[in-house]
Structure formats: structure tokens, C-alpha cells
Amino acid sequence: MSTEFARVAAKFEANQEPGTGVSNDKLGMWIFLASEVIFFAVLIAAVVTLRMRNAEIWGEHHEAAIATGLATINTFILIMSSVFVVSAIDAIQKGKENWMKFWLFLTLVGGSVFLYIQSLEWAELSHGLQEHFGLGPYFEGATQSILASSFYTLTGFHGLHVFIGVLLLLYVMMRAFRGDFTPRKYNALEMFGLYWHFVDLVWIILFTVLYLLG
């Protein structure tokens, strides 16, 4: 069936209007990312709204429970992992398969460490609020703190995206190790890259909104 499908597809594709000039996969991916933009932007807008309503308390909780140190490290990690991915693509374009695997491996490390540090951050926030305001641990404390509930929700959904990214990366690596990618054919890798950079991009904004603007 697979080959039959491919034959039909080729036949019809040879007889198409020029369209956008972008491959289906890439076009689809960007449209998907556009909808992800709305999703995250709306969440961020909601959080900023809540923050404006609760400016004072937000400030206090922020002061007490959020430190920029680890998050800055996380920002660097994500930036590095992004550059690893483009490097991997660059490598496969030049036919350096082993370098591609190397860069992908580094990306995997980056993503995983990011997730680990993120969990430390959750703990830190929870401890901070417990200590200074006597709130309950984790989500229980968040029921009394707009900052904590916003923080868990935003970083949680971002973290979920990183996690999915790591799963995708595992799949891409499997294909890489199987030798699926060639200098002309690395579609899955490229699609993964777009997703991964997007997740990085979201973090860049989150970092500013949640951490830096106190």
C-alpha cells in the first residue's frame, strides 16, 4: 500500500498548481506553531492580567520565592540546545553523519538537564512560599498564591512541551542512528528542529515575564 500510495501521490503532485512553494510538512508545522503561539500567548496574557490585579502580593511572593540563578542557567541550556540542533542539521547537510549524532546527543542532554533544573525550580518556589508565608507545599500553596499558580501552569505547560520535544528527539535520534538521514533527506530532523526552537523561543519570553520582571 505504501508504494501504491507513493505512486499516486507522485502522479498527482506532478500535476499541481505551484502552491506556496513550501513543502507540506514545513507549511503544516508552521501553521501548527502559529496555533501554539496563540496558546502560549493567551496563557501569558492571562498571567500578566492576574499579575496586574495583584501587583503587590505578586511582588512580595516573587521577592521571597523566585531566584534568577538556576533559571538563567536554564536559559543558557536551551539556547545551547537550539544551536546544537542547527549544528546537527548543518552537519547532515554536509554529510557528516557522526557529527549530526553528536550534536543531537548534546541536545538530548540539554533538554533533560533543563527538565531536571525545572523540577528544582518548582521545589525552590514551593519552599520559598512555605518559609516566608506559611503556605502549603507545591500545588496546595498555589491555591493561595496567584504567582505560584501562574508559575506552575506556565512552566508546567512549557515543561510538557520540552518533554514532548525530548520524546520526539529520541525518535529522531533513532532514525539518525538507523541511517535514515542523508544530505538531501532529513525532513524529520528539520521538523523537530522547528518545534525545538519554538519551545526555546517560548522560554525566552517566559524567562523575562516570570523571572526577570519582579
Binding site: 505504501s2 500510495f5 507513493a6 501521490a9 507522485a10 503532485e13 506556496t20 512553494g21 513550501v22 513543502s23 510538512d25 514545513k26 503544516g28 508552521w30 501553521i31 506553531l33 502559529a34 496555533s35 503561539v37 496563540i38 500567548a41 493567551v42 496574557a45 500578566v48 496586574m52 490585579r53 534568577t68 538563567t72 536559559t75 543558557f76 539556547i79 545551547m80 537550539s82 544551536v83 540542533v85 542547527v86 549544528s87 548543518d90 547537510q93 520526539l168 525518535y171 538531501r184 533527506k185 532529513y186 525532513n187 524529520a188 521538523m191 523537530f192 528542529g193 526552537h197 519554538f198 526555546d200 523561543l201 525566552i204 519570553i205 524567562f207 523575562t208 526577570l212 520582571l213 519582579g214
Partner: protein, 111 residues
Amino acid sequence: MTELFDAERTDVDHREAAHEHHGGSFKLYWIIALVLGGVTVIEVFLAEWLPQQGGLGQYTASIMLALSILKAVLVAAFYMHLKYEKRILTGIFLIPFFLVSLLMLALFGSG
């Protein structure tokens, strides 16, 4: 991504041939990374250290937002290749920002 994208089809056709080596180079990628890192350092500096020195007052937030948007633009333009792609992709990616900014106006206005 996994199998949701049609592996069979993309494997057979020659679309990839279309995307020769346009734009971006290993060196450029790492320069961008350096810039991103540098801007992050500036941001953290603005947020953590400057306030203790009196800071930039009301402008801090706007400056920091501007810096982070700059970073986001760099990522989109170079890592995500928008600079070298067909303009339509840039369009697709920008529309949602425009739409949500309207929502933000209304939300912040009626807080």
C-alpha cells in the same frame, strides 16, 4: 512528528532537493548563540543588579521586554530559518502575535 508526518511520502519525493544550502552557516549559528547569551547576561544584569543602583525606573520593564523580543526574533529568523524561507511562513507566524496583542489590550484594559 513521529509517524504523524508522512514518512513514506517525504521519503520518496524530491522536495528536499529544493532546499539547497541557502542561508545560515555553522559559524553564523554560533555567533547568534553568542549574541543570545550576551543579551541574556545584559537582561539578568538589568534585572538583578541595576535596581539596587537606582535602576532605570519605569523603563526597565520595557527595555527588558524589548530585549527578550529581540532574542525571540533572532531565534525565529536564524535558527528557525525564517529569514531564508518564503515570506508566507513569516506571515503565518506573525498573525497570531497580532491577534493576541488585541486580546491583551482588552484584558489589560479591563483588569
